[in-house]
């Protein structure tokens, strides 16, 4: 150990590059939700206990500790519940490349859902964003059954 921690150069280092592949199962609830997206349809699962309509849909309400099976329709329009404009380039896990900045992000409460959806916003000017704004989904032309079938949300004029 050297006397000057934090500034000394390494005596030895080994470089490992990690390339790993995982194959994730969506689960029954997410599978139906994603299939719906491919047809521009958004559905949530409603809890029979607390009545919360969950996005993302999941097998189980963690609050009531009950299984979920009651599907309800959700609109592709809703209210902005929180927002930010991101300036720090972060790696887009889908492409492995940093996403171009700045870009808007929001938590959107879609009409018909009780939880919020985090997604990109078309608007990236802080002065034109506010909690409570109405926003609507802008869909990709070729739908694939993934959350990014929605490109982003735009402010409803």
């Amino acid at each position: 150990m050297r006397a000057d921690p934090g500034t000394a150069t390494p005596a030895l280092s080994v470089v490992h590059e990690m390339r790993l592949t995982w194959r994730y199962a969506s689960g029954t609830a997410m599978e139906r939700f994603l299939a719906g997206l491919a047809e521009r349809r958004i559905e949530a699962l409603r809890c029979g206990g607390c009545g919360r309509r969950y996005l993302p849909p999941r097998p189980f309400c963690g609050r009531c500790r009950l299984r979920l099976s009651d599907w309800v329709p959700v609109r592709d329009e809703g209210t902005l519940d929180a927002w930010t404009v991101v300036h720090l380039p972060i790696v887009d896990a889908r492409t492995g490349e940093p996403r171009p900045v700045p870009y808007g992000m929001g938590l959107i409460r879609l009409d018909g859902a009780d939880t919020t959806l985090n997604h990109y916003l078309a608007e990236a000017d802080p002065d034109r964003l506010a909690i409570g704004l109405r926003v609507r989904a802008v869909w990709r032309e070729e739908l694939r059954g993934a959350l990014d079938d929605i490109l982003h949300f735009e402010v409803v004029p």
């Binding site: 934090g6 997410m30 930010t84 720090l88 972060i90 992000m105 802080p126």
Partner: protein
């Protein structure tokens, strides 16, 4: 729960990159310091608990390699990993092991060597069908919730900047801290680079290389080993639903922290936390979170957090010094950060705080925060129950 106490603490010098040591050596540095502080040798450790978020270093089961740094070879050793709360949860696991009657002396060691991996990638393995498709990263996720805090509580960028200044100035009196900025000003914070509106570079915690260890002992050995043991009066964990959008107005409600704090205060017999706590080491990854935690911890009424920081109530010479160490905002080796909170709280009770000592501290709070809204709350006291 049976009586247990923290009887020794130790930590490394934390830095952006500790290239002079390997991961096991980093752990060894903290573990050795904790044992020296407790006045014991490795043979007296009955069990070891490690804390580390292995994906940040691109590893699996890191205790297998780095555990020997904590003198774990030939001993019972387990690793706790729960995101940001890993360190506090590891300490709580250590308390439970020492209280179980199976082990008398337990060493808890947390570490992270962010410089050896790729933290952003390690954090990016969220739900592959949901968050991964629309990642905003840790900063962006905080910023979203902060927009609600600003809108409903009127928290200003200046008030947040005051938290940043307090943290880094306190850190200048902590020889272990990573970011030590004795002269930092509010203007410098407000002039720092925008990361995700309204969060600026100096509002955020750094990524640090570092390790921290504590020695936990059950009743009898605690009295033997430490002139003023830091007795565990409460150790509470509360977890939340898994998605960011599951928690309404996350920073404002923070029901896990509220619930955990209430349970911890009840266990420790605390009615007025601001008055009865002597020092707090809370897990604040971003300035705004500290202000939100003031409310959730019951240190002030709703909407009063900004006034608390403006009036210096939580400054070193205030009624309740919060984060004399400089906090997570100054030092953040994730797997160690929670252990640091508990160690710093214990060190205050031991009276070994040096320049950052709060005079006569006898009741100390430590908290952990992780994932979107997971909380740990620990209360330590000079008086056993």
């Amino acid at each position: 729960m049976r009586r247990v106490a923290v009887v020794g603490t130790g930590q490394t010098r934390h830095a952006k990159a500790r290239e002079d040591v390997s991961q096991p050596e980093l752990v060894r540095e903290a573990a050795r310091a904790a044992l020296e502080d407790a006045g014991i040798g490795p043979a007296e450790i009955d069990a070891v608990v490690l804390s580390n978020m292995e994906l940040f270093e691109g590893r699996a089961l890191p205790e297998l390699w780095a555990g020997e740094g904590a003198f774990a070879a030939g001993k019972p050793c387990l690793k706790v990993a729960t995101g940001g709360t890993s360190g506090t949860s590891a300490c709580i696991a250590g308390f439970h092991l020492a209280a179980s009657g199976l082990f008398d002396v337990v060493l808890v060691a947390g570490f992270e060597k962010h410089s050896e991996g790729h933290t952003q990638t390690g954090m990016a393995l969220t739900d592959p069908f949901w968050d991964r498709a629309v990642a905003s990263g840790a900063v962006g996720n905080f910023a979203l919730s902060i927009s609600q805090l600003q809108a409903e509580r009127g928290i200003t960028e200046e008030q947040a900047a005051l938290v940043a200044v307090k943290a880094r100035r306190n850190a200048a009196r902590n020889p272990h801290a990573h970011l030590q900025m004795a002269e930092l000003t509010v203007d410098e914070v407000l002039d720092s680079r925008m990361l995700a509106h309204p969060v600026r570079m100096l509002d955020m915690c750094p990524q640090s290389d570092g390790a921290c260890a504590i020695v936990v002992a059950s009743d009898e050995p605690a009295r033997r080993l430490c002139p003023r043991p830091a007795w565990v009066r409460a150790a509470v964990t509360r977890h939340e639903q898994p998605y960011l959008g599951d928690v309404d107005r996350r920073l404002l409600t923070m029901r896990t922290l509220r619930d955990a704090a209430r349970a911890a205060y009840d266990a420790a017999g605390i009615r007025e936390p601001l008055r009865e706590l002597d020092v707090a080491e809370i897990y604040e990854p971003v300035t705004y979170a500290e202000l939100a935690w003031y409310e959730a911890l019951g240190l002030c009424e709703e909407g009063e957090a900004g006034r608390l920081i403006e009036d210096g109530v939580t400054a070193m010479d205030g009624e309740l010094p919060v984060n004399p160490s400089g906090g997570v905002l100054s030092t953040n080796p994730v797997g160690a950060s929670g252990v640091i909170r508990v160690a710093e709280a214990a060190l205050q009770i031991h009276g070994r705080g040096g320049e950052r000592q709060v005079e006569g501290a006898s009741t100390a709070l430590a908290t952990g925060y992780g994932v979107y809204a997971w909380s740990d709350v620990v209360v330590l006291q000079a008086e056993a129950a």
